[in-house]
């Protein structure tokens, strides 16, 4: 029984991280119609931001987290304004390639500045909570709690707030939204910044657990794709269900097949879903934009 409990804990940690990460990816796709290939690099920046601010400026985990988020949001704003926005109405390959270029640029800046060595991130939440024979470190507990709060807040924001409603309007019908006078470019900017913020937060949360490495973003983006395709590109509930499915599925698969084959299984699932039901298990058919 404690074995199953431990699997549940591990699965939730991975699942929550995937969900928060993938929510940003799916939000940006749903509203801008753009697959953000640089999404993983902002996740990586979340972890590296914490590391740099801790090591070089002596900040604590929480202050460095807040500073990192502010910095990355500013960066996302600038990137959207000068690279995504001018390309968004041209051939869709252009914006795709632009985010791809941004991912190469960010990745290599980090490699040049800090090398390939894994960097440890300090956390004040040390210690382990034992529930019976199931163990969970406080950082993992914090990750799950903060992650779930963010997921709930985001849902509330999308459903209730004015900006959230505008976003949904643009996502459902871009032309219609434009006709009713919604400042569509500003919605794009807001969505992109919000989506990047989610990637950064997931990186900050996972950093102390996995260490920061320059390539952590490249593996995260692949998992992000699996999650959003599984749940349906652009669908928020889909990303939540998809993230937990992949998190638990991977945990089980790594027990049965070992770590080196578990990724093969997730990519196979991705391919099968794309071939059989490209709108995702929980998605609906999107209108061509």
């Amino acid at each position: 029984m404690e074995f199953v409990g431990q699997l549940l804990v591990n699965g939730s940690v991975i699942g929550v991280t995937y969900v928060v990460f993938a929510l940003g990816l799916t939000l940006i796709f749903g509203i801008l119609g753009l697959i953000n290939f640089a999404h993983g690099e902002f996740y990586m920046l979340g972890a590296y931001g914490s590391f740099v601010l801790q090591q070089q400026f002596g900040l604590g985990y929480i202050t460095s987290a807040i500073t990192t988020i502010i910095f990355v949001l500013l960066l996302a704003f600038i990137i959207e304004k000068y690279t995504i926005s001018p390309l968004i109405d041209t051939d869709h390959l252009n914006s795709l390639l632009a985010t791809f270029a941004i991912s190469i640029i960010i990745l290599n800046i980090i490699v040049i500045a800090y090398g390939n060595t894994p960097r440890q991130i300090e956390t004040p939440f040390t210690g382990v909570l034992a529930i019976g024979d199931v163990y969970i470190t406080y950082q993992r507990l914090i990750l799950i709690v903060v992650g779930v709060v963010i997921i709930l807040l985001l849902n509330l924001f999308i459903k209730r707030s004015k900006l959230g409603k505008l976003m949904r309007a643009v996502s459902q019908n871009r032309m219609g939204a434009m006709v009713t006078g919604i400042p569509i470019k500003r919605i794009y900017t807001a969505t992109f910044v919000l989506g990047i913020g989610l990637a950064t937060i997931s990186g900050i949360l996972i950093g102390p657990i996995t260490y920061a490495t320059p390539t952590m973003g490249s593996s995260a983006i692949l998992k992000g794709f699996v999650v959003v395709i599984l749940g349906g590109l652009g669908s928020i509930p889909g990303a939540i269900i998809g993230g937990f499915l992949l998190g638990f599925g991977e945990t089980v698969a790594s027990v049965i097949l070992g770590n080196s084959w578990k990724d093969v299984v997730s990519y196979l699932i991705l391919i099968i879903v794309l071939l059989i039901k490209p709108e995702g298990i929980f998605g609906y058919k999107r209108r061509a934009q």
Binding site: H92, N94, N108, I112, I271
Partner: protein, 328 residues
């Protein structure tokens, strides 16, 4: 006619260029250029003529290299016979993947090709008993076909690879001029219209994709013999990135575009003495600037320059030259 003279001059320059260098290092850079040019040419066949971005093209480059090495080492066939078999095998896999994936478009196609590539990469890295996995599979230098010169002799290797590159260009040019090739271009310009005049869109796309993976396998087999050691990294996004950079910066959909790109990304950095990371950073910046400010690449700019020069000399030819745009 003038085009032919220009191409002839370019070929002669590329043949004579290595003779200027006494240092084999520089000749090897030219060889690397020719190999990557073939790889980029193959990707351009998908990006430029099917009009979709494959984020997993390195898989076929890497499979070509691995199949060639494994066949020649396990069955004792010569490296070049093995390369031909490897090209066929990779083509079969490419056909299978293409058949499954080419119904999807845009981001879906980009993601599914990436997923396939990652699966192939993981299989190779998870089967160390066959492929030696991350430890790397060493490839003994074969002889250049019909000679006693080993692949590795700088000058002869360059000429051999350069000759193959010219053959690939001629082959692609030929394919594009057949009714099949015209059909492919028609699909790129508008797939609904193409299917309405009787072009079987999916079939044409699958054939194009298959040919492209076979050319990629050829470049992979050459690269394997050139570097002498294979790692699963050959199938990773990293190599796809390099080819994509070459295609986009060189000029998507132009026959010779990938050559300009390959030249810029293999030859120039070697003379600038940059570390690989700085190189990639600069490449990323170039790609971003290219997408923002010259999305049609160097080939387009060269074409415009040529038209300008022609128009200065004979202003009346303007109408004619404009109608020739976009092909080639």
């Amino acid at each position: 006619m003038k085009d032919r003279i220009l191409i002839f001059i370019a070929v002669v320059v590329l043949i004579l260029l290595p003779l200027l260098f006494s240092n084999p290092y520089y000749i090897n850079i030219l060889t690397q250029f020719a190999i990557f040019a073939v790889f980029a040419l193959s990707l351009n066949f998908i990006v430029g003529y099917i009009g979709e971005i494959s984020f997993g093209h390195a898989a076929y480059f890497g499979l070509g290299a691995y199949f060639t090495a494994l066949i020649s080492q396990n069955f004792g066939t010569s490296y070049w016979i093995s390369l031909i078999i490897a090209i066929m095998l990779t083509g079969l896999i490419g056909m299978f993947v293409g058949f499954l994936t080419l119904r999807l478009q845009g981001v879906y196609f980009a993601i599914i090709t990436l997923a396939f590539a990652e699966i192939f990469r993981l299989i190779i890295s998870n089967l160390p008993s066959i492929t030696r996995g991350a430890m790397g599979l060493s490839v003994p230098s074969p002889n250049i076909p019909f000679t006693n010169v080993t692949f590795g002799d700088p000058l002869m290797t360059y000429y051999f690879v350069f000759g193959l590159m010219l053959l690939v260009i001629l082959f692609i040019k030929y394919v594009l001029e057949t009714p099949f090739g015209k059909g492919v271009i028609a699909i790129r310009e508008g797939h609904l219209l193409a299917s309405s005049i009787g072009v079987n869109v999916v079939k044409y796309k699958v054939i194009t994709f298959t040919i492209s993976t076979m050319i990629a396998a050829l470049s992979g087999g050459l690269y394997g013999a050139f570097i002498g050691i294979l790692t699963p990294d050959l199938l990773s996004v990293h190599y796809t990135t390099e080819a994509l950079l070459m295609v986009v910066v060189g000029g998507i959909g132009y026959l010779l575009g990938p050559l300009y790109g390959a030249f810029i990304f293999t030859v120039i950095p070697e003379f600038l003495w940059m570390s690989p990371e700085v190189q990639l950073l600069v490449f990323g910046i170039i790609l971003l600037l290219a997408v923002l400010f010259m999305p049609r690449g160097i080939a387009y700019i060269l074409e415009q320059l040529k038209h300008k020069l022609e128009n200065v000399r004979q202003p009346k030819a303007k109408l004619e030259s404009n109608s020739e745009e976009m092909e080639g």
